[in-house]
């Protein structure tokens, strides 16, 4: 190649790699043009056609972050990963409102409807139920939680009825395999209250259904009253933890309360709009309460507040500890988000380890301590658990109550090794109370108020199948047919 271009006065020595180019003198420019064929460029490396990253399939929905009366949070957009079919429905839940359902997605696959419309109520209620179920499943490393009737391969969904009946109530029915939400007009009010628009109420009822799937022996009225209290508490705690599983709610909470969980706040107040309709301005129930076992009898809703209150206090205690420990390293909202996630998982593990029927608050408290120790939590976590359940009179310890109260008052929240007066190994004894006595009936009235889941794994597969079908011009499967493919996977999980 070098010889061919010698006449062009471009010298390329084949023995060296350096290319020498003549100096651009006036003489050179007036004699003959320079054709600087230095060296043929190597053929370009072909750029591969990029493989697109897997698309995250899902729908956008509008949900009430608390309920219509909590204006600071209002109604916001949320994203639900996974294929949500018209209904809305998926493999675990379907929505029923005669005359309205199935609610149809828009071209983007989203369910966005005007505030207060029947369609909007369907979407909100369905979404909160699915979010609550997924939240607890995440605490089980993505393991699918069956409904109580999902045994022997049964995969029947739960039916969500957003406007199920005219009345000031909402309930879970295992017999009817449904969650039903009422609507009513409060006395002296011009407008109706739709219980389905409350994240707290919807999450609470979904919580009953979720716990019934995990611990079916806890629902019957033949259990001791505290078991009924655990069921009600799990409902309220589902609402509290679901709020704490949403970054925007956690951030809003930190801003509004200045990071003080014991400040009056929307997080602890359960069912604000419903409570206001009944003349309770701080919500129907308050997770941040000071009730003790001696102040209640066998009413399950009253009893539930003691367990809920203890867990809320433990949440606040651990948050203060982690806030001190991680000061300057993390945002407060992130710390609270992570603490809630940790405590939620610990609670669920304890519930699963508690007796299959007749479980008491002390059973769950003891399992929380065991699980906490086994997973290597700081000692102070167990101190918080012991102290809070002792002060609530749920358990009795060798240390007199007054001393436990005094110990709480002088606890160094930053000291991970802070121990309770009783040490770390003592099993806590349940307080002798009417609510733990076998044979005492539950009073259900009261004076107080993963990605390994089929629904996560399926969308990409479904999308690929649809793309193939599009390429061949074949007809796309219906939503029902697409969801049906997941049913087989659930059948295996629930066998």
């Amino acid at each position: 190649m070098a010889k061919q271009i010698e006449s062009k006065q471009v010298i390329v020595d084949e023995t060296v790699t350096e290319v020498r180019v003549p100096e651009a003198t006036l003489e050179l420019r007036t004699t003959e043009p320079v054709v600087a064929h230095l060296q043929a460029a190597p053929p370009p490396i072909p750029i591969p056609v990029p493989i697109p990253i897997p698309l995250l399939v899902g729908s956008r929905v509008m949900i009430w972050k608390q309920d219509p009366t909590v204006a600071a949070l209002g109604r916001r957009l949320a994203f639900l990963p996974g294929l949500i079919a018209n209904g809305p429905q998926d493999t675990r839940a379907e929505t029923s409102l005669p005359g309205t359902t199935p609610v149809v997605r828009n071209v983007n696959g989203d369910f966005i409807f005007p505030t207060f419309s029947a369609e909007s109520d369907c979407v909100h209620t369905y979404s909160v139920v699915v979010m609550a179920l997924r939240m607890w499943q995440q605490s089980l490393a993505g393991q699918a939680i069956p409904w109580a009737w999902n045994t022997g391969g049964n995969t029947q969904r739960i039916t969500v009825k957003p406007r199920g009946f005219n009345g000031a109530n909402a309930f879970y029915s295992r017999s009817g395999r449904e969650l039903s939400f009422g609507f009513f007009t409060p006395q002296g009010s011009p407008g109706q209250v739709f219980t389905c628009r409350s994240l707290d109420i919807t999450a609470h009822e979904a919580g009953h259904a979720i716990l019934d799937g995990l611990r079916p022996g806890w629902l019957g009225v033949g259990n001791v009253p505290q078991t009924g209290g655990l069921h009600e508490s799990f409902g309220d705690l589902t609402a509290v933890f679901l709020a704490l599983a949403q970054f925007d709610q956690v951030e809003a909470f930190i801003a509004l309360s200045k990071g003080n969980l014991h400040d009056a706040n929307f997080l602890a107040a359960v069912a604000e709009e419903f409570g206001a309709a009944l003349g309770r301005p701080a919500g129907l129930r308050n997770a941040d309460n000071d009730l003790k076992l001696s102040q209640v009898a066998n009413q399950v809703h009253a009893l539930s507040q003691i367990f809920t209150g203890a867990i809320y206090d433990i949440l606040a205690d651990i948050f203060v500890h982690e806030r001190i420990k991680q000061a300057g390293k993390k945002d407060l909202a992130q710390i609270l988000f992570e603490v809630a996630q940790h405590l939620r998982r610990l609670l669920l593990q304890a519930i699963l380890a508690a007796p299959a029927s007749g479980a008491t608050f002390a059973d769950v408290a003891n399992e929380m301590i065991k699980k906490s120790k086994a997973q290597g939590d700081p000692l102070i976590y167990r101190t918080f658990i012991k102290n809070r359940f002792t002060v609530r009179e749920v358990v009795v310890t060798a240390t007199p109550l007054a001393e436990v109260v005094r110990a709480i008052g002088v606890t160094d929240y930053g000291d991970s090794a802070s121990a309770s007066p009783d040490g770390d190994d003592t099993e806590l004894q349940a307080t002798n109370h009417i609510s733990v006595v076998e044979g005492v009936p539950q009073d259900r009235a009261g004076t107080c108020g993963t990605m390994q889941l089929p629904e996560y794994a399926r969308p990409q597969r479904v999308l690929s199948a649809e793309l193939k079908q599009l390429a061949t011009g074949a007809e796309i499967d219906s939503d029902e047919a697409v969801l049906a493919t997941d049913v087989k996977e659930l059948q295996k999980a629930f066998a």
Partner: protein, 107 residues
């Protein structure tokens, strides 16, 4: 079990429970001895239907609970509990709603 021989009974219906855990409140009361024979028969028929069909309570949480107290003038008091699962095919519930409406109308 309700006897068709009972002529006079006092029936009281109480409501409680639900998501709010409401206290028990009296929903309606009637004393059949003060009713006209046709009304008396209708009330007793509905009460019998409730007692007969309220055999198995639906499993669930937060349902409204109705307690029907039946006090015959010549026998021991009986109590029937009905949980409201809003199931229109629940015969006990159907009879109860009919009876409640009857009592609300002044019977």
């Amino acid at each position: 079990m309700y006897s068709s021989q009972e002529l006079n009974v006092i029936i009281q219906i109480y409501q409680s429970g639900g998501f709010a855990g409401d206290n028990e409140s009296l929903l309606g009361r009637t004393d059949t001895s003060r009713l006209a024979p046709a009304e008396q028969e209708r009330v007793q028929k509905l009460a019998r239907a409730i007692e007969k069909s309220a055999t198995e309570a639906p499993m669930g949480a937060d349902m409204i609970t109705y307690r029907i107290q039946i006090q015959p003038d010549d026998g021991p008091e009986r109590t029937v509990v009905v949980e409201d699962d809003m199931n229109p095919n629940n015969p006990a519930l159907r009879s109860l709603h009919e009876l409640t409406q009857l009592l609300a109308s002044g019977t």
